[in-house]
């Protein structure tokens, strides 16, 4: 069971944002997408989550074209965390996370329990009754992460579940970056397919099963971090000289610039 983008192209007001992109996101695996700004990472996320129709090619979720899933069924299988959420109404943290339970009919008691557990997981229990509008950037992002986690908290009988994260760690300090990676790995071992856009190559190297490098709307390289991360590729895509070493503890590639 997978989330599949087959030969996708996306043209928007005269620009080619994506050209012939094919990507398979497997359940139980973590796929990290890296690339320079404007390379098409977010556009790809918009297409695979159904927010934008591709100009060419097709997208499917669990063997069925994405557009054929009804919105509420899709929401039970696929949760999406955008880069920014502009919420300027004074919801409390547990109300925001509770929104993640909208697609489910589990009853308010069960929902409240899931909300509390999700907040606990992202180290935000202390925010429960605080107002979203008065939180710091990192706190807001953790609450939003808890919201999408609550959305796919329990396995779904319709098919495998997927989580799409657009730069989930951008506002996080070191400990919460680590926490996010642990959460992502745990989800994958539970069978959830995770796709995330990240900027930190070492973060991607540490947690990805599949690393996708985007450049100029096409996939430049794809595979395990060991195969993909080379000095030549980083020079070509980012224009930065680097040294690839091995992380002494994890044995994963370590990019030193």
């Amino acid at each position: 069971m997978t989330m599949l983008a087959d030969n996708i192209s996306l043209h928007l007001s005269g620009f080619d944002l994506l050209r012939n992109v094919s990507l398979e996101v497997e359940a139980g695996k973590v796929t990290a997408i890296v690339g320079p700004n404007g390379a098409g990472k977010s556009s790809l996320l918009k297409v695979i989550t159904g927010e934008m129709e591709p100009s060419k090619g097709s997208v499917s979720l669990n063997q069925q074209p994405l557009s054929q899933w009804s919105l509420d069924k899709k929401a039970q299988m696929l949760a999406v965390l955008p880069q920014h959420t502009l919420l300027n109404f004074p919801f409390t943290a547990d109300e925001v996370v509770g929104l993640g339970r909208i697609p489910h009919q589990t009853g308010s008691l069960k929902d409240a329990q899931i909300v509390a557990e999700a907040l606990e997981l992202v180290d935000a229990s202390y925010l429960q009754k605080r107002f979203y509008t008065q939180m710091s950037g990192g706190e807001k992002q953790r609450v939003q992460l808890a919201r999408v986690l609550a959305q796919i908290w329990q396995p779904c009988e319709l098919g495998e579940q997927f989580l799409v994260l657009d730069e989930p760690t951008s506002a996080f300090d070191l400990s919460h970056q680590k926490l996010t990676l642990d959460i992502v790995r745990n989800l994958a071992s539970r069978g959830v397919g995770v796709v995330m856009v990240v900027h930190d190559l070492n973060l991607a190297s540490r947690c990805a099963d599949n690393l996708v490098v985007f450049n100029g709307g096409v996939i430049e390289a794809m595979g395990s971090p060991e195969d993909v991360l080379t000095e030549q590729l980083i020079d070509k895509v980012f224009g930065v000289k680097s040294i690839i070493a091995k992380h002494p503890a994890t044995q994963r590639p370590l990019v030193i610039t």
Binding site: L71, A75, P82, T85, F89, P90
Partner: protein
């Protein structure tokens, strides 16, 4: 900022509203004692109570409830706590429709004929609906309805309506001019059982359909694409809520003129008190709006005895200072 319990507020208002309504029955040009409410001693008292005051109070309840609940819905839909039902063009359109009827059918109204009054109501309703339709059309393209475009289109339509209104005022005689400006102040004095029946059915329709979309409105506060990812059919919700609001506000304006302020400030105050969850916000706003309007209308009947003031003047005079006090308190706590 501390929150009150939502169910607590709803219970409190559910007690306050009947009390205020009962008190409102006793006041007016003719003061009627509380005991006479239940055992009217004369034919005249009975007429005042049941043919004049009761329909007027019920109309106030329904108009207040509809204006505030649609206000809460629009603020959620536009993700803007300063939105109000007039944003979608319904009030400005209705005002042109009403003015047009007053000027065109002036003769009927001067003679005080019932037909004249209902012509104004029909004109207001049709005007409001046409304007909303226009705003909605302008903002809807292949990819859905843009709330930003809707906001801008609403402003443009309001400007055109304002100009048309001025034009109509320019060409009307003194009496029509007075009619137009009185209508624009909002007035409940023309209440009748027919009006109450129409208004109450619309209010009931809205109150029974809004709960269905309250969770969708909560999700929409995150943003449209976030709501879609939570399984909300955003376009359908938008269309449904805009039609219901246009209907509700259109009928309010047609039957009671432009009662301003209630739809903007009441949901805002209620949100400050109990938070933005629409499952509570909409019913609580409806009750609070109904209470404010009954209270304001009671005052309108007694402040300048034996004459009375248009209700719309009192809603703003009462609500705005209260709102300012709330804002100041909120600033102190931050």
């Amino acid at each position: 900022m501390r929150r009150f319990s939502a169910s607590g507020l709803i219970w409190a208002l559910a007690i306050i509203l009947p009390v205020v309504s009962l008190l409102s029955m006793t006041v007016g040009t003719v003061s009627i004692s509380f005991s006479d409410l239940f055992a009217a001693d004369s034919r005249q008292t009975e007429t005042i109570l049941f043919d004049i005051r009761l329909p007027r109070i019920l109309l106030a309840i329904c108009v207040g409830a509809v204006l505030s609940s649609t206000g809460a819905v629009m603020q959620g839909l536009f993700r803007n706590p300063l939105a109000d039902p007039s944003l979608i063009g319904v009030s400005s359109g209705a005002s042109v429709g009403a003015s047009l009827m007053i000027v065109a059918a002036g003769g009927f109204i001067q003679s005080g004929a019932l037909l004249g009054l209902s012509l104004v109501a029909v004109g207001a309703f049709v005007g409001g609906f046409v304007a909303t339709l226009l705003v909605y059309r302008l903002a809807t393209s292949g990819i859905g309805t843009s709330v930003t475009t809707m906001l801008l289109a609403g402003i443009a339509i309001a400007a055109i309506a304002g100009a048309l209104n001025s034009l109509l005022s320019y060409f009307s005689d003194n009496d029509m001019l007075r009619q137009i400006s009185l209508w624009q102040m909002g007035n409940l004095s023309g209440a009748s059982w027919t009006k109450v029946t129409i208004m109450a059915s619309v209010a009931l329709l809205l109150m029974s359909l809004f709960p269905r979309d309250s969770r969708a409105l909560n999700a929409l506060l995150l943003g449209e694409s976030e709501a879609r990812h939570l399984g909300v059919d955003v376009q359908a919700v938008k269309r449904r809520l805009i039609i219901l609001t246009a209907l509700g506000v259109g009928v309010c304006v047609a039957l009671a003129g432009l009662v301003g302020f209630v739809g903007l400030i009441i949901p805002h105050i209620v949100r400050l008190a109990i938070g933005p969850d629409h499952r509570w916000l909409i019913p609580a706003s409806a009750l609070a709006g109904a209470t404010l309007l009954v209270f304001a209308d009671s005052l309108a009947r007694i402040v300048v005895i034996p004459a009375e003031l248009p209700t719309g003047i009192l809603t703003a005079l009462l609500g705005a200072p209260f709102f300012v006090v709330l804002l100041l308190q909120q600033r102190k706590q931050v």
